[in-house]
């Protein structure tokens, strides 16, 4: 997937890497890359997504969880909720007192 905005190009691609065979197990890693380019630079962010495990005729796609990122995002969510409550609750208390 590719998009262009104000001279910047955004590319979001999922691709499979080379297959690794260990014994009777064949593994195909999958990763997702975000490539952003602007006239004077760019950035690339690649992260592993899943692993396709093939054993004989059996095929299974195992997702790779980024636990650190999930925990960080969870805590960030809590912090945002806390900040919103800190804004909302005093406002509600003041309104009730006026009423």
């Amino acid at each position: 997937m590719m998009a262009q905005l104000a001279g910047m190009s955004f590319q979001w691609q999922t691709s499979s890497g080379g297959q690794v065979t260990v014994g009777d197990v064949a593994l195909t890693p999958e990763s997702r890359a975000l490539i952003v380019r602007w006239p004077k630079g760019g950035l690339v962010w690649v992260r592993p997504v899943a692993l396709v495990v093939e054993r004989g005729e059996e095929q299974e796609r195992v997702l790779i969880a980024d636990v650190t990122r999930e925990l960080q995002l969870g805590l960030l969510g809590l912090a945002i909720i806390a900040a919103l409550l800190a804004l909302a609750i005093p406002a509600l208390v003041i309104r009730r007192r006026r009423d």
Partner: protein
């Protein structure tokens, strides 16, 4: 356009081309295969690391000054004892360029292939999680302080 200015512009264009070429090479390095390490065999087990790879690069350049044709006879003004007029002063050009970049690799999981099958062990960055936890704790403290203050 003076020869100096032409030379400077050509030099900047060349620098830009080289920078873009470098960026293309960096992007090629960070293609999806970079997220997975080379399999490491240890006894009955084969280990593959899965990492998050990120890199960025940026550069900039600028050119400024006054491009004035060099005076035909600069000695003439000097011999008369008067300072050269603005038109007689030689043009000056200045330019600069700079760039910067960074790259990082963070392990996300270790894939272990052994007699028991394929297992994916997550790698948890305790420092990052602790920092996020402390930030959340700070936000919670501020929230509680505000609520108590409003309750009084």
């Amino acid at each position: 356009m003076s020869a100096k200015l032409t030379k400077a512009v050509i030099s900047l264009a060349r620098d830009r081309e080289q920078s873009m070429e470098l960026l293309d090479r960096l992007i090629a390095v960070a293609q999806p295969g970079a997220a997975y390490g080379v399999p490491i065999i240890s006894g009955d087990y084969t280990l593959i690391t899965a990492s998050e790879v990120s890199l960025g690069m940026g550069f900039g350049y600028g050119l400024g000054g006054r491009a004035v044709p060099e005076p035909a006879a600069p000695e003439a003004a000097a011999t008369e004892g008067e300072p050269p007029s603005k038109e007689q002063q030689p043009g000056g050009l200045a330019g600069g360029a700079g760039g910067g970049g960074g790259a990082g690799v963070r392990p996300v999981a270790v894939i272990s292939i052994g007699p028991q099958g394929v297992r994916i062990e997550p790698v948890i960055d305790a420092t990052k999680v602790t920092l996020a936890f402390l930030t959340t704790l700070g936000a919670m403290s501020v929230m509680l302080a505000r609520i108590f203050r409003a309750g009084r």
